[in-house]
């Protein structure tokens, strides 16, 4: 019984690490540009498809790693154009409703466009390690899941370094905290917007590949990561990256435990229940300093 519990917690942490990647991208974009992007999970979907078509070209885990890179770059490029031509014109209008509706339009477009291009059947990203299982003392998992976990933790760590140690990272955080002050400090806001959106969508793309490796890849898969990422960002405080990291792990664990001990059918509802409770009780999120409305 206890070992089952531990197993579930660790499974939750692995899944949670993938949620983190997607959620960090979402929360970065929201923090810097105030864009609540409902199409964020569809960037993950696109990333996963990039990987599916690339991973067969090079065999072994080298192929898997390079597929991740290809997905990140590919989705980043798409993100650049989406930001420049779709969201940028709306930023001057500055209405929440327009931005949300536009992202919903993008969501409908990408989800159904993907069905046209890739077909509706679910696909799997080829497992480079042939689903080799590993057993720790009280915990067994497949090698690929562990690899997913290590990869996302490394990415999160590198991202944190980028945001705290480099000049551009500091500029991004400054813009997120106070746009006008950042502008007065000589930060090129327009450039920061592009960078943030590109990095944010690339993270979604990476998350998508990992998500697709653990679960499956299909055109409609984007909605779930989006909603989960929103749950996580709300839990951690919107625009708060550290909050998104903790939130991701919390949701991952809560879902696997809830799915196991409460009800499998309502597993996906756990995120929503968290959202509603958090918003009603602590609207600024667990790690949010001041309340943003």
């Amino acid at each position: 019984m206890e070992s089952l519990f531990l197993q579930q917690v660790l499974n939750g942490i692995i899944v949670g690490s993938v949620y983190c990647l997607v959620a960090i991208g979402l929360t970065m974009i929201f923090g810097v540009m105030r864009i609540a992007n409902f199409a964020h999970g569809d960037f993950s979907m696109l990333g996963a498809y990039f990987a599916i078509y690339f991973v067969v070209l090079i065999s072994g885990w080298v192929g898997w790693i390079s597929a991740l890179m290809v997905a990140a770059v590919g989705v980043g490029v798409i993100g650049f154009f989406v930001e420049r031509f779709l969201f940028r014109p709306l930023l001057t209008r500055w209405t929440d409703i327009d931005i949300i509706m536009l992202s919903i339009g993008l969501f409908i477009f990408l989800e159904n466009g993907a069905q046209l291009v890739f077909g509706t059947a679910p696909k799997m990203i080829v497992d480079p390690l042939d689903t080799k299982g590993i057993n720790l003392i009280f915990f067994s998992t497949s090698m690929i899941r562990l690899l997913c976990f290590l990869f996302s933790v490394t990415t999160i760590f590198l991202l944190q370094m980028f945001l705290t140690k480099t000049k551009m990272g500091v500029a991004i955080r400054a813009t997120s905290q106070n746009r006008n002050a950042a502008l007065l400090m000589g930060i090129n806001i327009s450039f920061i917007y592009s960078i943030t959106f590109v990095v944010g969508s690339a993270l979604a793309g990476l998350g998508g590949v990992l998500y697709g490796t653990i679960f499956a890849v299909f055109p409609m898969m984007g909605a779930m990561p989006t909603l989960k990422a929103f749950a996580i960002t709300i839990l951690g405080g919107m625009g708060n990256i550290r909050g998104a990291i903790f939130g991701g792990f919390i949701l991952g664990v809560a879902e696997t435990l809830g799915g196991n001990y409460i009800s499998m059918q309502y597993k996906n509802a756990i995120g929503f229940i968290i959202i509603i409770l958090v918003l009603l009780i602590i609207p600024q999120g667990l790690f949010g300093g001041k309340q943003k409305k």
Binding site: I97, L102, F109, E111, L227, A269, I273, I275
Partner: protein, 325 residues
């Protein structure tokens, strides 16, 4: 004076045209689309009341629609209640659920409210799928009774099984909805809603109790959405949890945006245009053998927001009115 007369005759002609439409085109499929448009008009108008006039972005509207449909259908199936009573009851039950979204909206706005409302509708969709004893799960409810026939004196019996007769029921309710919403929007209530949309804090400072208004508008909107759902249930007589899905909300949202957000007739235009466009595209799909319908929906929604913010109705209005929302 002459102009007024001209306008009046145009309106009368329009009404006559709408009334005669099922006789002009006898095709049952066409009549079916007319009925669907009518139901969508009620649904889109109710959503517009929230998003367009009050600035409350509700992305869980399909939940209200579904609750209305399920309530009325279950009341008829399990308790044998007449659908004519079920229609308003569906609305009332849905409006009670409106309270659950109205209360969070006191403190939340923009993306926060949007995501809460999505959560609300997704939870209810999961309930409708998993509460198999009551809702038969994803199989849905079937065999829902149609609206009971009206007995007129002299032995005339009006049945509501045919599209043609149902069309008139829908037209009456859609007009009634539009009439009520029009009265609301131009009343002090509506003005307060719009002032709340433009500047919430400012409205509070001039004595508008925004919380009370938000709760009320959520309940009214939910009532109409539930009513539309109940109509749909007794018309199609087969409902499933799909009715509460996000894509249902997104369809409504696209209709309102394309028609014109925050305008009285925008939702009407959007509902009719997109219902027929959607069917037109279905024919096109048969030719090109691709599911292009929703891709076009998405593109249409994005184009509307980027290039014609006030929708089709906005194109015919004076430029001076500015953007809303």
């Amino acid at each position: 004076m002459n102009r007024k007369l001209f306008k009046l005759s145009l309106i009368i002609l329009g009404i006559l045209f709408i009334l005669a439409l099922p006789f002009i085109i006898q095709d049952r499929y066409f009549q079916h689309l007319l009925v669907l448009s009518g139901i969508f008009i009620i649904l889109t108008s109710s959503w517009n009341l929230l998003a367009g006039y009050s600035g409350l972005l509700n992305l869980g509207h399909a939940a209200f629609y579904g609750i209305g449909g399920y309530s009325s259908a279950l009341l008829a199936l399990k308790l044998g209640l007449s659908p004519w009573i079920g229609l308003p009851l569906g609305g009332i039950i849905s409006s009670i659920f409106g309270i659950f979204l109205g209360i969070p909206s006191f403190r939340l706005s923009g993306p926060y409210l949007a995501i809460t409302t999505i959560g609300f509708s997704e939870i209810l969709r999961l309930v409708s799928m998993n509460w198999v004893d009551l809702t038969r799960g994803s199989l849905g409810l079937y065999g829902i009774p149609p609206l009971t026939s009206l007995k007129l004196p002299k032995g005339i019996l009006i049945k509501f099984v045919s599209e043609q007769n149902f069309y008139y029921v829908v037209i009456i309710f859609a007009s009634l909805t539009l009439f009520i919403i029009r009265r609301l929007v131009y009343s002090e209530f509506g003005i307060s809603l719009r002032s709340m949309r433009e500047d919430e804090m400012g409205s509070e400072s001039i004595g508008i109790d925004t919380s009370r208004y938000k709760l009320t508008v959520f309940m009214i909107s939910a009532f109409f959405a539930g009513f539309a759902g109940a109509l749909y249930a007794h018309y199609v007589r087969l409902i499933s949890p799909e009715m509460l899905s996000l894509s249902e909300t997104f369809t409504v949202l696209t209709m309102v945006m394309v028609g014109g957000l925050g305008t009285l007739y925008g939702p009407v235009v959007g509902a009719v245009v997109l219902t027929f466009l959607s069917e037109g595209l279905r024919f096109l799909e048969d030719i090109v053998k691709l599911n292009i319908r929703f891709v076009i929906y998405g593109a249409l929604l994005m184009t509307t927001i980027l290039f014609m913010r006030n929708g089709i109705v906005g194109l015919f209005q004076k430029k001076t009115q500015g953007t809303k929302g």
